[in-house]
Symmetry: C2
Subunit: 308 residues, 2 copies
Amino acid sequence: MSLLVVGTVAFDAIETPFGKTDKIIGGAATYISLAASYFTKKKINLVSVVGGDFPQSAMDMLKKHHVELEGLQILKDKKTFFWSGKYHNDMNTRDTLATELNVLGEFDPILPDSYQDCDFLMLGNLMPAVQMKVMDRLKNRPHLIVLDTMNFWMDIALDELKTVLKRVDVLTINDSEARQLSGEYSLVKAAAKILQMGPKYLIIKKGEHGALLFDKNQVFFAPALPLEDVFDPTGAGDSFAGGFIGYLAETKDISFENMKRAIIFGSAMASFTVEKFGVERLVDLTQKQVDERVQEFIDLVQFDIALV
Amino acid sequence: MSLLVVGTVAFDAIETPFGKTDKIIGGAATYISLAASYFTKKKINLVSVVGGDFPQSAMDMLKKHHVELEGLQILKDKKTFFWSGKYHNDMNTRDTLATELNVLGEFDPILPDSYQDCDFLMLGNLMPAVQMKVMDRLKNRPHLIVLDTMNFWMDIALDELKTVLKRVDVLTINDSEARQLSGEYSLVKAAAKILQMGPKYLIIKKGEHGALLFDKNQVFFAPALPLEDVFDPTGAGDSFAGGFIGYLAETKDISFENMKRAIIFGSAMASFTVEKFGVERLVDLTQKQVDERVQEFIDLVQFDIALV
């Protein structure tokens, strides 16, 4: 059995108050796969598309993290998806400076036969129509389908997104997207409405303010780690999703209790990602570093009250 | 031994998206005392000032919560401090519509002799000079001094505030005030700077995003309870402080571990306060309701990860 990850593999150029990069490796599926690789020994089957300009070294780096690239289409005569953005001083808002779809414009997600044993599916942020195609092309429904999306698709493809939502188990979006999708300001009310749209679980990501997990009856809150500096927030949400699905895929336990743990592992991965530009921090973590970071989360929220 | 609470006892008129009140009972010391009363059986000695217009029924309500009013000055020919404000739709920002200092303009905090046995002191938000006078007038330094303040005093009385800070154990402020006081955007860096100004502990209140407790070596995070509706945020921070100091005063344990518990109890009281206008929700809670609310906090953040 395997974990299937679908999403962008891209070039990013990022500017933050701390500095500026040229084109570096980015993309939702890149962050998701790397983060997941620290938690699951399963094969991580990637479906994405890049251009002839995408470097072999980046593909080698992914392979080192047991990411299978048979489903990575390489369109030799075209260019890789490129995004460029500039973060404001508060790091919570950013301006998009450039978006060049390139290969992504006509992306048809082809699933190699060897990917059909997928039991966990992570649909990274992409056109809802592409996310739908992936689900259509799997012969057996995976044990768990997690979907990430963003406000952009709510703006231009809301009907398609709603159709996709009916078929997934877990939706991850941020707080303003939850408000947009539900029309409710209160996140508790927003969650109740969104859980009627299809997903059995909803994760609302609140950036530096942590994340909430809802099902119909319960809510769990995971904090973000208070950091001296957030160096580059790019990929934090995808790293979160990667740690989350990686842990679930490995343990095969999709109970609410186990999802709590998965969210803490996801939060730990996000806290690493923001410490450096791009995937720099994610490429060579040790198990010890991951464990120590998770322990910081435990220490951060653990308290001991015995009610009589 | 007793808990000494200093702060405003006031009239508020509040407008929120949910409704509007005439003059109702408010004031930092009112919320603090009421919230504390659920956690400590000690006498809660109040120091404040009101005008001849302050109703006997409100004083009776405080007495029912074992609040001692010997230190509540009643200036018969003057009027009680009045504040009026209107909350915006997001409930995180508000406009002050009126501030009438009235009796507060010349407030001299007189401590009855019977108050000198104070071992826990809560200095609610007030002019730093008044907070200083209270400390000067206590013959013995209390076991723990907690101070609340606000951006207004940072704007107009920063030097006095800094002098006061040197003498307190715990400072409670919100996130934007922590940034203003320290000149640091990162709350981790802000905390490090503020802990050099005097307090051994710093609590940064983040409203709906919870609260952080810092000492020089550790950090603890307590979430806010996700609520369907925040009806009226007035007094949430004071109720938080009241639950916090009430629990500490009763247990007499001022270790970091016990402060974590105290913060959870404080957060529980804040979550009650915002459910109705003014002190309405705080006046007749049962122990069972408080316990159930605390259990909701435990359920909200509790997870079980065993690192090898």
